[in-house]
């Protein structure tokens, strides 16, 4: 079932995972002489939660940056929805329906939570300059619709209470949630999460895990996430890619990965020659 890229399958807990929506083929990324990613290939299926794990410096974030267009690999190709993706700028990738969050939170600190979430809707606003300039007419209509969507996401992530608060004043855990809200507001097909639980306490981690599962369940969003907390990842994801020193050392269901000797070595710190 997993071998056929165009066929969908049903998981043990009864969720349907679709066909392959995105595929990395032989990605190699170099910074000067350093190879951050070495010839990595993997695919992402529609509706699944796909995790990329690995120790610090394994190249996970670089991989995510390749997907979202912030880095351009020297070799290899990204296939999205069946066709090869030309080199793209990050904003073009975002317009294709791939939203992301950042490891070190990149929010608009000076704006309110609502305004931040509304920026996620920018690509849904198409009204021309003139009615925009005065905000009347169609723009008014559009603003109302997009606002409704933004409020829906805000409700969903339970951040109504801080809607009008400037983001700069929020604690870390809430900022992470606002960033997720902004990414969700774009109604992405694929959501990239870069260490969504880094620096959180146990309670916050549980909250975030719940939200990620809910997003996947409610909106059917495909999620690619990076995490180095093994425990969380194993509970959350359908399939896992394991990276170490820029190479892929494992790929499969959490159970398969857990029993992979190379993965165990990487995490226990067996020396590399």
């Amino acid at each position: 079932m997993l071998d056929n890229p165009t066929e969908s399958y049903v998981t043990a807990d009864g969720r349907t995972i679709g066909a392959v929506v995105m595929e990395m083929r032989g990605i190699t990324l170099r910074f000067g002489g350093v190879e951050a990613i070495k010839d990595i290939s993997f695919d992402v299926r529609e509706g699944e939660i796909r995790a990329i794990i690995g120790p610090n410096g394994a190249g996970k974030s670089s991989m995510l940056n390749v997907i979202s267009g912030f880095y351009h690999p020297q070799e290899g190709e990204v296939f999205y929805k069946g066709s090869k993706r030309p080199p793209m700028k990050p904003f073009q990738v975002a317009r294709q329906g791939i939203a992301r969050t950042f490891q070190n939170i990149a929010l608009f600190e000076g704006m309110s939570v609502l305004d931040n979430v509304m920026t996620g809707r920018l690509n849904y606003m198409k009204t021309g300059f003139f009615s925009q300039a005065m905000w009347w007419g169609k723009a008014e209509d559009e603003e109302t619709k997009n606002r409704a969507k933004a409020e829906e996401i805000i409700d969903f992530l339970e951040i109504q209470a801080i809607r009008k608060t400037p983001v700069g004043r929020l604690p870390y855990g809430l900022k992470k949630r606002v960033e997720l809200a902004r990414a969700l507001a774009a109604e992405p097909q694929i959501l990239l999460l870069d260490e969504p639980m880094a620096g959180m306490n146990v309670e916050e981690k549980e909250d975030m895990s719940r939200f990620i599962l809910d997003v996947n369940d409610e909106f059917g969003t495909t999620i690619v996430l990076i995490e180095h907390d093994m425990g969380v990842v194993m509970d959350l994801s359908d399939r896992v890619v394991v990276m170490d020193y820029g190479k892929k050392i494992g790929d499969g269901t959490p159970d398969e990965v857990r029993n992979n000797q190379e993965v165990i070595d990487a995490y226990l710190g067996v020396s590399h020659d």
């Binding site: 912030f70 950042f102 305004d115 920026t119 996620g120 920018l122 009615s131 925009q132 902004r182 990414a183």
Partner: protein, 379 residues
């Protein structure tokens, strides 16, 4: 009322109106600095270039006349007709048709509500009235188009290639741009002092003169041009604020000003926003150039008003639109009052340096300016 107090009132009023002009120049700086972190040294030269272009079009001069004559051995200098007048009918007809057709079509095709119809009508009708009532309107609109083209060229050929560079490099690029643009301006329109008249009222305001004379026994001398400049500046600032708060592009501008990476990740093209911001700065430069040019002629010294904007920015903060305005007003009033009260004792001409001293004092006590973002370094 003692004479001294009345004089002080007059000085304050004139200082305030002068401050509006400073604020206008500072505003151009703030727009670009906020969105791209570039301190645009060329803002003053942009004002000169815009004013020169406007005068050139109004007087019907051939751009690059010296260059053309030198290469082809010709003797062209004027078009022999008034481009402003020639453009009047095309502009008037197009804007009239736009006012007639766009809102009604939009209403009939149910793309807008009645409220939207009125809004569209207000914009297109306003444009038509502007062309119809302001004699210099075609030349002004053409100059706006040229400033937008300039913004595109600057972004395409200079700053697009400098993305992610150190602020000092970007600053150096704007210095280069300033001298380049100054040269282009010379080459295009010559370097003589030109008289600019776009039909703004000039001379002492009689109504204020008479009213204050009856009330106080002394008629305050306020120039109509200053009042007009203040009103236009106020309208400009309000529309800029409305634009940045309530439109898609405005939101994108604020997003880029806040965080480049985050802006990219929600699908905003930095390039597009920067062209937009440089265009807006160009339009602000045009307005500033028209105001200063109407007051003291369009000449090279116009580009030096940019230096007056520096203390305004130190005072108000580099990232705040209200800061630019309040800073401009404080500098305007401060230097006028200082010259009035202290100037005679120390030999006058204090306007040249007072603003900078005030700014230095501010730097010591509040380095981020009145409205700037507080600089907090986490350790």
């Amino acid at each position: 009322m003692p004479d001294q107090l009345i004089f002080a009132m007059e000085v304050t009023a004139n200082g305030l109106l002068n401050g509006v002009m400073y604020a206008l120049v500072a505003l151009g700086f703030v727009l670009i600095f906020k969105a791209s972190g570039i301190f645009n040294y060329a803002q003053g030269v942009m004002a000169l270039f815009a004013a020169m272009t406007l005068v050139g079009i109004q007087e019907g001069r051939v751009p690059f006349a010296h260059l053309i004559n030198a290469i082809f051995g010709t003797h062209v200098h004027h078009f022999g007709f008034d481009p402003n007048a020639a453009l009047f009918w095309p502009f008037a007809i197009v804007s009239f048709l736009a006012a007639l057709v766009i809102p009604i079509t939009a209403l009939l095709t149910k793309r807008v509500s009645i409220l939207g119809f009125l809004g569209l009508e207000a914009i297109t009708g306003g444009l038509f009235l502007f062309v119809w009532l302001v004699p210099a309107a075609p030349a002004i609109l053409l100059t706006v188009l040229i400033m937008i083209a300039f913004a595109y060229l600057v972004q395409r050929f200079v700053f697009k290639h400098l993305v992610g560079q150190e602020p000092i490099i970007l600053f150096m690029a704007t210095i280069g741009l300033a001298y380049f643009l100054e040269g282009v301006s010379d080459l295009m329109w010559g370097s003589e002092i030109r008289n600019l008249d776009v039909g703004l009222p000039q001379g002492v305001n009689d109504w204020i003169d008479v009213t204050t004379f009856e009330a106080l026994g002394y008629g305050l001398f306020i120039d109509n041009l200053d009042i007009a400049a203040a009103i236009i500046a106020a309208i400009l600032v309000m529309s800029l604020i409305a634009y940045s708060q309530y439109t898609k592009n405005g939101r994108a501008m604020r997003a880029v000003a806040d965080d480049h990476q985050a802006a990219l990740s929600v699908g905003i093209s930095l390039n597009y926003v920067w062209i937009l911001v440089w265009s807006l700065a160009g339009i602000v430069a045009l307005v500033a150039g028209v105001m200063w040019g109407s007051k003291s002629g369009v000449q090279f010294s116009l580009s030096l008003i940019a230096l007056k904007a520096l203390p305004v920015l130190m005072l108000g903060g580099f990232t705040s639109i209200p800061g630019a305005i309040v800073g401009g007003l404080i500098i305007g009033v401060g230097e006028a009052l200082f010259e009035f009260a202290i100037g005679p004792m120390i030999g006058g001409a204090t306007e040249n340096w007072f603003a900078y001293v005030l700014a230095l004092v501010f730097l010591v006590f509040r380095p981020q300016g009145l409205f700037g973002e507080k600089i907090i370094e986490r350790v």
